[in-house]
């Protein structure tokens, strides 16, 4: 089952520069797991350690925001198009948000380190 996935500029380091990649899966979660086998690290940029989509990454199936389709459980069909866009956000005093992000980055790094230690490739 082929699903087209559009990758934003900032994540193309995981796809060898490719703007569009293909993957397979019955749900968005399955698709991201499949993509991660060929584009290692991509999933960790989209899904938190707790197993939910990052707050400040937008993922769409066709024309719908997956938050309204069940997030990682969103069902996918052959021929669907998935688009990933980093949220455009910021502002003068969002220190709590900034702290959450840096906390998340630390978590992601820790998870990556743990994975590398458990399953060296």
């Amino acid at each position: 089952m082929a699903i087209e996935v559009r990758i934003p500029t900032i994540l193309r380091s995981y796809t060898g520069g490719a703007k569009v990649v293909e993957g397979a899966g019955d749900t968005l979660g399955d698709l991201l797991t499949d993509l991660d086998t060929r584009h290692a690290g991509l999933k960790a940029r989209l899904v938190t350690d707790a197993g939910v989509l990052h707050r400040f990454v937008n993922v769409y199936v066709n024309d719908e925001d997956v938050r309204f389709l069940g997030a990682l459980d969103a069902k996918l069909n052959d021929g669907d198009s998935v688009t990933v866009l980093p949220a455009v956000a910021g502002g003068a005093f969002g220190f709590a948000a900034a702290a959450a992000i840096s906390q998340h980055r630390a978590t992601t790094a820790a998870v990556a380190a743990r994975r590398a230690a458990v399953a060296p490739r």
């Binding site: 900032i10 980093p86 949220a87 455009v88 956000a89 502002g91 003068a92 948000a97 992000i101």
Partner: protein, 162 residues
């Protein structure tokens, strides 16, 4: 350096004034690879906050698709700070997700003057760049270059047109 048409800067400032004291945000699209902002797209601030902005996710998708269809890219991503200087906050840096864009900040904290500054934000590193405001239809050699409230070290005093 960011070169941007005066009419676009005026539209951005008008948008920032209109939404003050909430933060305003938007995009200026331009042809891919051209580094020239040509089409101003004011966006909704879904956060409707004085200290935070976030594009509405559906509007974001629609506008990014439209740019794709027109062979455009987000040359400028702008937002306003309504009580502080036009310099990227830690939040701005943490969220900056378009490494190819000029991040334009407008401060509307002063009622009569605007501070307009532009930055590259790549991998958490902020680099300020000069802003050159271009008058459309004017001989490029006669272009006047200046910035509102810019630090003098980066003002293009040469008016060189380059």
């Amino acid at each position: 350096m960011l070169s941007i048409d005066r009419s676009i800067v005026e539209a951005i400032v008008a948008h920032a004034r209109r939404d003050h004291p909430d933060e305003a945000c938007g995009v200026v699209a331009g042809p891919v690879g051209g580094d020239t902002p040509t089409r101003h797209i004011p966006m909704d601030n879904a956060a409707r906050s004085m200290t935070f902005y976030e594009f509405d996710s559906m509007e974001h998708l629609r506008v990014w698709r439209e740019m794709d269809d027109r062979d455009e890219e987000p040359v400028v991503i702008y937002h306003s700070h309504t009580a502080t200087e036009a310099y990227p906050s830690r939040t701005d840096v943490a969220f900056a997700g378009e490494p190819g864009a000029h991040y334009l900040l407008v401060s509307t904290r002063e009622p009569d003057t605007e501070e307009i500054r532009s930055f590259r934000i790549i991998d958490g590193v902020v680099t300020e760049e000069p802003v050159r405001i271009v008058d459309a239809g004017v001989d490029p050699h006669a272009v006047q270059s200046y910035m509102f409230g810019q630090s003098p070290a980066t003002v293009d005093y040469e008016c060189s047109g380059s």
